[in-house]
Assembly symmetry: C2
Homo-oligomer: 386 residues x 2
């Protein structure tokens, strides 16, 4: 079974893919935001894989994490890297493009084709920078809903995602339960704990402490590279587990001996510096600020996930990973308790893994088995509710 | 019993105390360092509490953590704050000054009176800055040994400390086993894991990313305040536990509602900013760099704690705290396994606490009971080995 699964994980098996752009909320219309402000026009960059069937009942929306984008699978022409969840999306994979029509959109507030703080403000002809309005996870989902409407899809077969993608998944089921048949929130939470807020706050402080951040108006000068690199290094520590760091680096030295300088002596230091430096080339610092704040504000605890007295038709598969200390299993169990209290059909699985929070990106075989079966039952089996 | 202990924890019960200074390694002599470099002259700032008995058998050396100093107990004239372990040191307390003579010295590399990167280099008449040689935990201990010699103490009754203080404690037993009757390493490790190195590396990068750091030559201009504040914020997250943050802050908002700005919305954000800002007023950025590197280099695993074939006469009390995820109990258990493999007399206790790594500073009653009994047995009881 494992062998069979692994054979399916062919590299970029979808081949070449390309983003598309959905533009909406053109003035005088605008997207109303939770803050009370508005945003428009709004561009959503998105990709699709597979084909929408005739009754439009096989659409699955994949939601990305903090630094993700619409490029979830396949490869872009001229670029070597496959999408961020390529192992999970493609013919025969967990999200099987022979059966399902997969959609992934860059969130608003992002910097990979969707409208965000680095986009040009039509009012000024310059990047929004901090004039960009605050956005929430619910705002991201509302923008995605416009895309789903545009694609003519009344009901999504499934919404799925890990980390912040899991927050969007939960938000979809909360905001539009009648439009989501199944939801797969992975390695996520109903709300950030103070520790999660604290890590995000330090990340923001690291960016804003860099004088090159210039109060957000750095676009004519270049990124606040040092601050953003430090921010990303903090992130990477929280994405890995103590054990995965031990397996990957232990205390191995880069040059076999101590430098007695402030160089990167240990391999783990070199790795973090590399990850920090490469991040500044691909991600907008202001987007990092806006998106981390959206995650901190997110709170579907209490009666916010399922409104009291309402029947939620969505069925859930909740997945967490044993070594994930950033979004610990206890937070996934809280999601499940909240669902069960409201008589929602929910399955929970904690997967063994040493990869920490990164596990949702790398533990392919086990997730594939769970998700394939769950989607199968949702579409064809006794899980069919509507 | 608990009540009795708590009654003993009177605030600054030692009253007014003052630091003393031991100056040694005057040229042409010098302190030889592990790096191969030398340092001299060396000043050690230290404080003592209680009285040395006639046969000089009641001396206890307390070692401080990363940002600690020689002021472990009592109060300095004109200052309101008691020493960092005042609850543990004083008449009737765990380290009972009616019975024991307590010594605490600021480490070399520090910035609270001992020679460190902010000290004036006699060669140039200016602060050392990065011309200060690299120091290790063993170098810190060698400097302390000179102080102990100066005080005429042949054998310490005990060496004790938490976190980096625990590393020094272990190093004492490794370097000078015949001079240490008992050792109490608390919330510490034989070596830093890659995750611990990673956190320290991000801390260093945050400091060095600040242009006000000026390659270490900031003394004429002022501290790299923003970078150092970010560094300390990272530290504070790791010192607390998820649970203690939940108990202290939960998701409480500072002003009752979201700001929809990059302000500190949550109380935990305000707390971290406050701790970061106050740290820059009291601690030298270069000292933070040097001392974190010393911690990362520290490694007494394998046969380095107790040399193979040697008999270690020191008896150990090893303490860890259940919610400490920075120095998890597994690392203390590794210390104990290493001791037991060499037939060393070792007692281990994991204390229940929600305070995370900070527990060694705040869990007074339980530590007091353990330590008082252990010292008693070392001095008078069946633990007497020499």
């Amino acid at each position: 079974m494992l062998q069979a699964t692994e054979n399916l994980i062919a590299y970029a098996s979808l081949g070449a893919v390309a983003p598309e752009y959905h533009i909406f909320a053109r003035p005088p219309a605008a997207l109303k935001l939770e803050s009370g402000e508005t945003l428009g026009p709004v561009t959503l960059a998105y990709e699709t894989y597979g084909s929408l069937n005739q009754d439009k009942s096989n659409a699955i929306l994949i939601c990305h994490a903090l630094s993700g984008d619409a490029h979830a699978a396949g490869i872009h022409d001229g670029e070597g890297n496959p999408g961020w969840w390529d192992d999970m999306i493609g013919p025969g994979k967990a999200f099987d493009t022979k059966r399902y029509f997969i959609i992934c959109a860059n969130v608003i507030g992002g910097c990979k084709g969707s409208t965000g703080p680095s986009s040009v403000d039509p009012q000024t002809g310059k990047p929004y920078a901090l004039a960009f309005p605050f956005i929430t996870i619910a705002d991201m989902v509302n923008a995605q809903r416009d895309l789903i409407d545009h694609l003519g899809i009344g009901k999504l077969l499934c919404v799925a995602g890990g980390s912040m993608g899991g927050m969007q998944t939960l938000q979809w089921a909360s905001s539009y339960p009648e439009r989501v048949r199944a939801a797969i929130p992975i390695a996520t939470a109903l709300k950030h704990s103070p520790q999660q807020i604290a890590f995000n706050e330090v990340v923001r402080q690291a960016i804003m402490a860099d004088p090159d951040w210039r109060g957000g108006n750095y676009y004519a000068y270049g990124q606040p590279e040092k601050g953003l690199a430090v921010a990303r290094m903090i992130g990477h520590i929280t994405f890995m587990s103590d054990q995965s760091m031990e397996e990957k680096f232990s205390r191995r030295l880069k040059s076999g001996k101590f430098s007695f300088k402030f160089d990167a002596d240990f391999e783990v230091e070199g790795y973090l510096r590399y990850r920090g430096d490469s991040f500044v080339k691909r991600f907008d610092a202001n987007s990092y600020l806006y998106i981390t704040k959206a995650m901190d504000y997110f709170d579907l605890s209490g009666a916010r996930l399922i409104q009291t007295g309402k029947v939620c038709p969505t069925r859930f598969l909740v997945i967490s990973f044993a070594s994930d200390w950033l979004y610990p299993s206890s937070q996934s169990q809280e999601i499940v308790r909240s669902l069960k209290r409201h008589q929602v059909d929910a399955t929970y699985c904690e997967l063994k893994s040493t990869y920490g929070h990164d596990a949702f990106l790398v533990e392919i075989a086990e997730q594939t088995n769970l998700i394939r079966h769950f989607l199968d039952r949702t579409q064809n089996g006794n899980g069919k509710k509507s």
